[in-house]
């Protein structure tokens, strides 16, 4: 695409996603910008870098909250597409970055971008969230937490090289070190009261959470909603 006034961005020499139409990228940007929270999350940036120094993710990954704030401020549509398709999933949403002296909230921008990414059903978003199907299934259906042996090792690269080891050996370790408080948690965790579970299911449907899951994983949505609706009907 030739550089024009509309698509020119000062931050990027190349277009990393030429296969995606500019209009698509622009729509994602506008959706983000039109979010009612946007103007409270972004004022202006003078590159002080306090958000980067406070950011735990920035220590370990090629991720910068400053770049996110600056890209948004510059309305750099191409770079925002890079960010929405990749960088936003590196953020831990810890909001350490809100100490910004200009009162920007890069973490909040990431929140909006994530919502836009999920709602738009971006393929990159589906790929990133693929590993979480089991986690979502467990949390939403059973109302309890995840244990390490639930992780699918190939999909959690950010756990480092140990994840393979953990995943493979966890059941043996559990047996070798029988700790009462942990036993049971690894496979079933605690049991959530049925009334609470039914309330949770209602919340998932009423708040639109199920619709969001439908965008990123339709199979999981079908499975979850079938079971939940059945349970709700039984009462």
């Amino acid at each position: 695409m030739p550089t024009t006034l509309e698509n020119w961005n000062p931050g990027k020499a190349e277009n990393r996603h030429p296969e995606v139409a500019y209009e698509v990228k622009e729509r994602l940007f506008l959706e983000t910008k039109n979010d009612p929270r946007y103007h409270e999350f972004l004022y202006g940036c003078y590159e002080c870098g306090i958000c980067v120094s406070a950011c735990p993710t920035a220590r370990f990954y090629d991720y910068s909250p400053k770049v996110i704030a600056q890209a948004m401020a510059r309305e750099d549509v191409e770079r925002i597409y890079d960010i929405i398709s990749e960088d936003i999933w590196n953020c831990a949403q810890c909001f350490s970055c809100v100490r910004c002296p200009r009162q920007n909230n890069p973490g909040g921008l990431v929140t909006i971008l994530r919502e836009v990414a999920v709602k738009s059903g971006l393929q990159e978003t589906k790929d990133v969230l693929q590993g979480y199907s089991r986690v979502i299934y467990k949390v939403m259906l059973k109302g309890n937490q995840v244990s390490p042996d639930m992780l699918q090792p190939d999909l959690f690269a950010d756990w480092g090289p140990w994840v393979q080891n953990f995943s493979a050996n966890m059941p043996i370790w559990k047996k070798a070190i029988p700790v009462d408080s942990i036993r049971g948690v690894t496979d079933a965790a605690w049991k959530v009261d049925r009334k609470t579970l039914l309330e949770l299911y209602t919340i998932w449907f009423e708040t639109g959470s199920m619709e969001i899951i439908k965008e990123v994983d339709e199979g999981l949505y079908d499975l979850l909603s079938d079971i939940m609706q059945e349970e709700l009907e039984e009462g």
Binding site: W8, P10, G11, A13, C45, E47, A73
Partner: protein, 351 residues
């Protein structure tokens, strides 16, 4: 013979404020101005609006000038220059030439307010091609166009849609010899960027900078509104060169935020040229025997080192950009202090 009169050299903002202050303190002032009218660089360079409360420059300078010309305690001499100088504090003899006529003045104290000149971008070490490409202009060139509310690309008369400011042209540069910061260019460029966004609403305006030096209230009054309200893009990184590309200008630099080199086209490139001592400041330093710093500005500080209007010679004071880059706040404040010091100096001699 001891004299109670105070000579003010230069009729720009600092000289006018000094003359007005001397008169208001009950002193007698003679103000000499090389040009045909008062107002100094803001008038001769056609400034549009001042960073000061967005005052119209002509209007603000006219107010100041009329406060001086309308004061019986101030005598103004136009097209006047100092030709010779002798004596000491309380009793200086100054040979001047005014309107082609030689005169001798006897004064007790002198305030030098001979100001600055804008850096000539032909001397820039970067390749900005000011003298080659008509669409490379300076902040002073732009100021004149803003004043007319008609900003165009000089090459073809069209309205520019992509405009880049390059900061620190002729400032903070060891190779050029101007190692100092010129203080006002960040504020002026930001002010102009706001005006551009107002006058050309569909324009994109970029400011490429090393550091933005928006001291004091310039931060909330100019810098933040430029970014937040007027959507001016500030990109940290200075441009290394400006090249022709079709009928546009290609600029090369580093986008330090995104840590990558950058090459983009612009319709208009504005060089934020800094301040240098004016020819008058250099000449008067020699004539009066005042110590200059390595950049040619008059060395201020006085004997104590902490007197911002003191020079190396008792009885001679300096105000405004003759002693270094100053904004109008600096210049007016120094002018008032210089007036007080000069008035005290002649009072001591006369007592």
């Amino acid at each position: 013979m001891s004299s109670g009169k105070i000579l003010i050299i230069g009729g720009g903002p600092a000289g006018l404020e000094a003359a007005r202050s001397v008169a208001e303190l009950g002193g007698e002032a003679i103000l000499i101005e090389k040009r045909i009218g008062l107002g100094g660089t803001p008038i001769s360079e056609g400034y549009a609006k001042l960073t000061h409360h967005w005052r119209d420059a002509s209007e603000a300078m006219a107010e100041l000038a009329s406060a001086v010309t309308g004061n019986a305690n101030v005598e103004v001499k136009y097209q006047a220059e100092v030709k010779g100088f002798s004596g000491s504090a309380g009793d200086f003899t100054v040979q001047i030439e005014a309107n082609g006529k030689a005169e001798s003045l006897n004064v007790g104290a002198v305030i030098v307010a001979t100001g600055f000149q804008h850096f000539d971008p032909g001397r820039a070490t970067q390749y900005y091609n000011y003298y080659s490409f008509p669409d490379v202009i300076t902040i002073t060139d732009l100021e004149k166009m803003l004043k007319e509310n008609k900003v165009v690309r000089p090459s073809n008369g069209e309205t520019p849609k992509k405009i880049a400011f390059i900061q620190c042209v002729g400032s903070r540069d060891r190779q050029i010899g101007n190692e100092y910061c010129s203080k006002v260019c960040c504020g002026v460029a930001s002010k102009q960027a706001i005006e551009l966004r107002e006058q050309i609403t569909d324009s994109k305006v970029f400011i490429f900078y090393i550091d933005m030096r928006m001291y004091g209230y310039w931060e909330p009054e100019i810098y933040w509104p430029a970014q937040e309200k007027y959507k001016v893009n500030y990109v940290k990184g200075v441009i290394s060169e400006v090249l022709p590309k079709g009928n546009q200008l290609l600029i090369r630099g580093e986008d330090t935020t995104m840590s990558r080199p950058m090459e983009v086209t612009m319709d208009l490139v504005v060089l934020s040229v800094g301040m240098e001592p004016s020819a008058g400041t250099r000449a008067i330093s020699q004539l009066l025997g005042l110590q200059q710093n390595k950049y040619g500005f008059i060395e201020a500080g006085g004997a104590s080192g902490i007197d911002p209007v003191g020079t190396s010679k008792p009885g001679i004071f300096v105000a405004g950009a003759a002693s270094g880059p100053s904004d109008l706040d600096d210049s007016f404040a120094q002018a008032g202090l210089a007036a007080a010091r000069a008035a005290a100096a002649v009072r001591k001699v006369l007592a």
